[in-house]
Symmetry: C2
Subunit: 209 residues, 2 copies
């Protein structure tokens, strides 16, 4: 049986040490990062599959071994972006003391991952052109993420660490600033350090009671 996408992770490999250790999964991961980088740097319409393949030193056709089509490539990029955001929030909630502290940690953690080795995370600019089922799933993830963040803000208001505010708008403002980062960040380590250092303070200073 051909190991074509959709049928893949060959059953026997799924059990291996770590699913993500198989060559297949490693290469697929590299592909998703390459795609995210292309989409962020050259725009979606400006990135052909060949552009993505070039980054990997492959042929455009080779990508079809990992993914059914371009739509799925974008979809998987967005899922990855969603995972990264969720993990950052999980960690922040686990570590945070007060609501305000949790907000600061979330901002920091998320930026650390975005600008770090898990490297470029795709901006979700093309959600509407995904297939309906994918679109709905990504939208749901995205809404859930916002909702959790607003929950943290409410918690902060409750515990007195955050002043009463419009949590919806506050969330929009902070998330917007974060979501925009991949648009101008190009991998420079010194810049990465600045963002991680500055953003949490800049974005949370307005919240304190």
């Amino acid at each position: 049986m051909q190991n074509r996408s959709g049928l893949k992770p060959p059953a026997w490999k799924t059990m291996a040490p770590k699913a993500s250790d198989s060559r297949f999964e490693l290469q697929k991961g590299r592909m998703l990062r390459a795609a995210a980088r292309c989409f962020n740097e050259k725009g979606y319409s400006g990135s052909s599959l060949k552009d993505v393949a070039d980054v990997l030193g492959l042929t455009d056709a080779a990508l079809y071994y990992y993914v059914k089509n371009k739509e799925e490539l974008v979809y998987l990029c967005y899922l990855r972006a969603g995972d990264v955001g969720r993990e950052a929030m999980d960690q922040a909630i686990a570590d945070g003391h007060t609501g305000l502290d949790t907000v600061r940690r979330y901002i920091r953690y998320h930026l650390e991952v975005m600008t770090g080795e898990r490297g470029p995370i795709a901006i979700m600019s093309e959600i509407p052109s995904l297939l309906p089922e994918h679109r709905d799933e990504v939208l749901a993830i995205s809404r859930e993420h916002s909702a959790r963040f607003e929950g943290i803000l409410r918690q902060g208001i409750g515990d007195g660490s955050i002043a009463a505010c419009d949590v919806r708008m506050t969330g929009n403002a902070i998330m917007g600033a974060l979501n925009w980062v991949p648009k101008w960040f190009r991998g420079d380590a010194a810049v990465a350090a600045s963002v991680v250092e500055e953003f949490p303070r800049i974005l949370s200073a307005g919240l304190a009671r």
Copy 2:
């Protein structure tokens, strides 16, 4: 002579009461707003010329009367976005007392226009796929805008209204939050009021000395 784009504004009309009053310019303006709306809502790749034309009750081919091709349509959307941003900043600089005050006003003015009748402003997501000359021009406008904003921050630090900070990162954070607005704002007047009311405070609270 056919009034085809590139040769247009028929000379005699350019002198008329206001250039923007000619039917041609009015319709072109409507088209740019329709395009911005489509691009923001459905993504660039998800918006065909037919989609844009449908909003106007026209045929896709009709758009070519106003614009040479899709690339130019995007380019003009971005120029418009640039104008709106520049005007907001001009006004803020004219009205602002201290640096901090100018920052607040800029945020407010820009949001008022974005969410107001001059209505949807295109997110500049596809700059890299513009023609080189257009790309460079838009990038220059964009950089100039950021530079001016950082200038205001420095001025504020100078006049004591803003605490010392990394102006580059502070600019990135605030601009990011603003640039992301068209991504979630869908024209609701009540929401518009909230943004205009909340964002200036949320985004500038961290700056005060």
